[in-house]
Symmetry: C2
Subunit: 570 residues, 2 copies
Amino acid sequence: MRTRHYLLATQKETPADAEIVSHRLMLRAGLIRKLSAGLYTWLPTGLRVLRKVEQVVREEMDRAGAQEVVMPVVQPAELWQESGRWVQYGPELLRIKDRHERDFCLGPTHEEVVTELVRNEVNSYRQLPINLYQIQTKVRDEIRPRFGVMRSREFIMKDAYSFHASQASLEETYRAMHVAYCAVFERLGLAFRPVVADSGSIGGSTSQEFHVLADSGEDAIAFSDGSDYAANIEMAEALPPTAARPAPTAALEEVATPGVDSIASLCSHLAVDATRTVKTLVVAGEEPGSLVALVLRGDHSLNTVKAEKLPGVASPLRLVEEAEVRDTFGAGFGSLGPVGVALPVIADRSAAVLADFSCGANRDGYHLVGVNWERDLPLPRIEDLREVVEGDPSPDGKGVLQLKRGIEVGHIFQLGTKYSEAMDATVLDEHGRSVTLHMGCYGIGVSRIVAAAIEQNHDDRGITWPAAMAPFEVAIVPLNMHKSEAVTSAAEALYEHCRAAGIDVLLDDRDERPGVKFADMELIGIPHRIVIGDKSLAEGEFEYKGRKDDEAQRIDRDHALDFLRAKLAG
Amino acid sequence: MRTRHYLLATQKETPADAEIVSHRLMLRAGLIRKLSAGLYTWLPTGLRVLRKVEQVVREEMDRAGAQEVVMPVVQPAELWQESGRWVQYGPELLRIKDRHERDFCLGPTHEEVVTELVRNEVNSYRQLPINLYQIQTKVRDEIRPRFGVMRSREFIMKDAYSFHASQASLEETYRAMHVAYCAVFERLGLAFRPVVADSGSIGGSTSQEFHVLADSGEDAIAFSDGSDYAANIEMAEALPPTAARPAPTAALEEVATPGVDSIASLCSHLAVDATRTVKTLVVAGEEPGSLVALVLRGDHSLNTVKAEKLPGVASPLRLVEEAEVRDTFGAGFGSLGPVGVALPVIADRSAAVLADFSCGANRDGYHLVGVNWERDLPLPRIEDLREVVEGDPSPDGKGVLQLKRGIEVGHIFQLGTKYSEAMDATVLDEHGRSVTLHMGCYGIGVSRIVAAAIEQNHDDRGITWPAAMAPFEVAIVPLNMHKSEAVTSAAEALYEHCRAAGIDVLLDDRDERPGVKFADMELIGIPHRIVIGDKSLAEGEFEYKGRKDDEAQRIDRDHALDFLRAKLAG
């Protein structure tokens, strides 16, 4: 490709409404353009990246035995009514009426359509297992589309659906898809983690997410440094401390703490560590009007997902207003504590092993010190309430946890018989008996991967693509191309040699200053750059620079192609 | 691919609601399945064909210098309001509202979106010409979807849009796209014709259609046997006869013709040829309430498109009711004629050179014979009114016309400044002046090509794909595979050799009777079939049969791969 005949569409300015780096760089590097909120056109450079991702996904799906199909985007309401989701699905399902006033929707996902297909086409266990996938434009009417293609209304998904005569067969395909997903992200050159996405115990999980690691990720994930364990932080268990609770050594005492309204100010006032304090949060109980006190160690954070799953606690979790707290405790948020309260109390595992700790006195401006469970207050119900922190032991007993932020780009799920029961999808088994199909579904956010890869791979000059995703492998930048015949012929010759060798090459034949060309090629993130100028050419050399290199190097012009081949191979 | 792990989905039964052969065969051969009216899922076999078509289209677009992009399916109403089409476009435009009650539509075409993109990205004539294309799912809310993917509500189009600083540049790209389209259909192995789709004179046409020839085609096209001339029959000019009108030889006479109500019965009654008669059709005139008489030779048919374009004739054409005719002529449809009528009369070129002809007497049950222009009635206004027939001279003066039926699969169009003016899309020219962009658009019905190819290539056993479109190139059919170890190992070995050689091969390893396997492979239309059985194998041979061959032939098993390679190359 030649830049003179190419919609490069790079921009110097940082777009005002782009909040995250991938959104900014995708606009600046000419990968996408916004048509309307959450609707983007993929320009030639962006589409080249997208197609490379698609192809890797397709190859790994095929290798895993999945078969590619394409289902309609427009789906009839009847199927969604059959599954129950026409009512259950929120306004993200874009519902439409055709010219005959019949109800349809634009597919955000295809469980109903594929189940309808399979219940018609598959009658016998001998046709199973079957795994059908498509790479397709999906529509989800996001209430607030943002972050470019990271959270858009139209996006490209690979969605696969497998069907089985038994749970064991489903689990086998589920494992194969796990392997295929890992292969996809490895081939794309992305740092990623498969994480447990539900509360299932290790080994028996029925849902896993695949996260590309990036500081800007929306999700925090916890993973072990000593095993494969990884989980969404909301799902990561904080194990009970192994050490027993020490015996009391201090006397209970009420101290004046004027102005203290946080753990930080308490620690500072009393000169104690936060690990020797507890905080008390008051949430709505399951019974209407009831309250529950949750007690955590001062340095820990409440994990709301864990809390709202507990019996006795309202779901979704609701932290009560200060006025309501004051009615019950006789004090405001700054001075709450578990001593002497008439409410149900639940203590986190780490809070329950403290001795001689400090907490609010339930009297404004006062705290208690030297508090001990079973001496000053009963030992309450104990649960896992907190978010894990770095250094916690891994829930699988191997290694300690580290935390990273991640961007979810894949999800595999054992659906079981949810859709096949609702839609009466059965086959005859080897005994001629009708059995309900077991089903799995497996998604990859193809367009989202492009954005996630940029979040993970960029510097202050632009994108630093992993090799497998780069829109072009090699940029040839001739200097003063239209003034120097020697430069022109050398550049054209290398360009043709690269093309003949099957290398994705971009020849920057624009009549622009070298600085402009260099900046554009770096912004787009082409991994390998050859500069051809009169000076080095006179010495029989080109100049090479890798996108992540600090310095350029001279290379022999006669061996430039071999040099590039070696770079691309390695 | 192995049929045991493949969604073959062939059907013996002819689907009841499929009206045309391609629809029936696409269902029977397991290419598609209906989800809802006009909405189809592409099964693995159909998708393989579709992808091959897409790839040929993509390669030829790239070769012609077009750049691939992907624009959103969902389009904001504002752009369509700007172009005026939000109001003009009929109910085929599927209009939707998002969760915020904002208007959008599902794109049947992308002129507005691409013009919006280009007016933002292209500012200078130096960035022109530019030609952007996409291969994408389109939505058109057909009032009566039918014929499978031939006229569906969701379909796959290649749509390209070019932009230019001048008409001359537009014409250059238009010609390049014409060449590219011919290359696409030639590579796909389809018999096709590019036809003039508007009334433009030869050489200056601004719109051309590409038709795949098939007896079942919806459109009649006329083409010369002596040149490249081809046109939709509605647009094909009938040249004026070269011979002058003969002098009168017969006397005018009124004859009784009881029961005669058609040209056929008139000819039979008078024992004259239809070429010596004229028929008179009465249509609404341009002035409200006015009528016009159209006179054609008895054996010719009125071309309504030509007629309604004439000054003085109402458009759209309206044939008036018999009651209204009777008021004016004093006779019914069976006895109308041009002699003595008080209406404007327009005669077709061929009717105007007749002498001694017969026509209705404007008196029920009577006709005139020996009628002559300028003696018995004035020579009226003369126009080209009729449809061309086989044997007519070609309008370009070279050869004579033949008629075929065709299926429109492509359309190229010089749009000029229609959208760029409405949407204010301009660039600065080399003098720094603002000029309105010239625009072309170029469509190919990718999914429709699959159906059209089947209409053109089938027999009573199924599809007979052109080589480039076949879902698989080679079928290997082992007989009694699971009983004979020799057959199994020979089949597996050939299968692996084919795969290693990059051949698209299907191994039919199902436990089915030979007849079932043969029927399926022929139905799907795999061009080359190898049968492996114990008997021939004992003699070191396989059996080969081309899909269109009458007889199978024995081939040496050791040279089977070379044999197939030669077949595929030739």
